[in-house]
Amino acid sequence: MNPGYPIRMHKKPVFPQSSLVLGWRQDLGNLGRKVTDYLNRKLGGEEFAGVEPEDFFPLDGVAIEDNVARFPESKFYACQEHELVVFQSDSPGAEWYRFLNLVLEMAEQHCRVREVYVLGAMISFSAHTTPRQLLAVVNTTGMKEVLSQYDLAGDVDYQTQPGERPTLNSFLLWIARKRNIPGVSLWVPIPFYLAAMEDAQARKKVLSFLDERLNLRIDFSDLDHEVVKQNEQLARARSRIPQINEYISRLESNLMLSEEENGELITRIEDFLREGG
């Protein structure tokens, strides 16, 4: 690679062809990071390249996460046997077009990526007991047809509202289409009171789809255990704290909570889970 080229490669993976899964670290419910970590762990993902941060991130100090200083990271992992490339990254703060193009260029030229899957989470005002849906936005009609056989909500209509901006995932899909790479942006709703924590059920929903679509044959028993544990913790929270139960019951009956009640539910759930549930 040229000096000054912002991607450094430690190893050259050999893929006859592959699929790319991208997750952003600062996602709701830590979805992007957790799903990509899980794939790497289960499928033996090996880091083989990274993007140098200086052009894309505000290097004006370090962020502190869970008491530890951290630095922006953008890494590629190869799950060789499964013909899968995983990219996990902080969301860039500048030169988005160049950054996303670099990622796709790397995936195309060095890993022969044929399809792109980008992960996203969205806030849901439903209770955690409501089954998770997986929404899909594709960048070609061909991809829509291919995905029609899966359990996806694929008829999303959306237009950016005043004061909002499109997501990085939409930007990526658009660039992928310019490069003739079919892609899908996957969106899983996360109950608002779990958005700052984790949602094993949402993760399972996304991973199950990827498992089926990419024929990964993952043993989900550990994740199933996490889902059960999360549900048990939330059930305990409901039985011990009547206010939590009242609010969640109202959500289950499709009743909206006030802004203040939403805030109270978030605080109480987060406190309960942090204390070990």
Partner: protein, 303 residues
């Protein structure tokens, strides 16, 4: 990073008039009003993706249809003597959460704008923006003018209702123009083009509000249109000004009485030359600035 031309007009001694949004959108409203009044024709745009994060997406039945980016467009209008070239940037190419463009991308965009201007034979550039001033909102704003070469000073001194930085009390001819409306001046100088930035005054206590300030846009437009020998109907700007002034007055009444009392004194500010004693002393001016700053910090609305 490039320019997309729809046509390449043949222009005679064109003058470039360029603006990007800034405080009170003073410059961009002035320039866009002029462009609209002259019915200037669009002929090119800067490809946006290297500069901007998209501003809109359209998804239909689960398929991404379209991604929309802020526009950076060129227009032209044939005139009797100097043809006019317009550049209107819908946004400044900011990044990392900053308010104004700076660094490599800002420099890149300024150069692209001037590439087009020079290609079409342009040797003179006007930009426009806001001058945050210690004035009252009931006052008629002046226009601060900053040329990019000393040889333009005499010309600028002849403009109506216009002052140089050295005419502003306490400035001593110094200051800075943030963002692309200023940077273009510097890049033009580097490329040997004459350029002048015209900045309409906005009261210091309005700079952090998300309102336009058409009164100052009108002041800028009057200077530019006179310089270009064009008569522009300002009725729309006057109407907009009346609406904005009503909103400003509502906001003004919410300012705590103690601070408002200080600001009321600005009504009596006559534009003093640096050597003359003004109706407000420097001490008092400092106090007003501190009070305003404190008020906006509390409100969370200041820049």
């Amino acid at each position: 990073m490039g320019i997309r031309y729809y046509q390449e007009p043949q222009l005679q001694n064109p003058i470039l008039v360029a603006s990007w949004p800034g405080i009170g959108n003073i410059g961009i409203i002035a320039i866009d009003t002029l462009r609209g009044a002259l019915e200037a024709e669009e002929f090119a745009e800067i490809e946006p993706w290297d500069f901007f994060y998209p501003k809109g997406v359209l998804i239909k039945k689960g398929v991404l249809q379209h991604l929309e980016f802020p526009g950076s467009r060129f227009y032209f209008k044939k005139m009797k003597e100097n043809d006019i070239l317009f550049f209107i940037g819908e946004e400044q190419p900011t990044e990392m959460g900053r308010m104004y463009a700076e660094g490599r991308r800002a420099y890149g965009m300024a150069n692209l704008v001037l590439d087009v201007a020079e290609k079409l034979g342009c040797r003179r550039v006007y930009t426009s923006g806001a001058a945050v001033a210690l004035i009252h909102h009931t006052a008629q704003p002046r226009v601060w003018a900053v040329p990019n070469t000393r040889s333009l000073l005499a010309e600028v001194k002849g403009y109506d209702n216009t002052v140089l930085m050295s005419d502003i009390e306490g400035r001593g001819g110094q200051g800075n123009i943030t963002g692309l409306n200023g940077l273009l001046l510097g890049v033009a100088r580097r490329r040997g083009l004459e350029a002048i930035c015209l900045m309409g005054e906005i009261p210091v206590y309005l700079q952090g509000l998300a309102v336009s300030y058409p009164r100052a846009s009108k002041a800028v437009l009057e200077v530019i249109s006179r310089r270009l020998g064009i008569e522009i109907n300002m009725d729309n700007l006057d109407e907009l000004d009346r609406k904005v002034q009503r909103k400003v007055e509502e906001f003004y009444q919410q300012i705590p009485l103690e601070i408002r009392g200080q600001l009321d004194r600005l009504k009596h500010v006559a534009y003093a030359q640096p050597a003359e004693p003004g109706p407000i002393t420097q001490e008092e001016e400092k106090k007003i600035m501190e009070d305003v700053e404190r008020f906006f910090k509390k409100r969370g609305g200041a820049d």
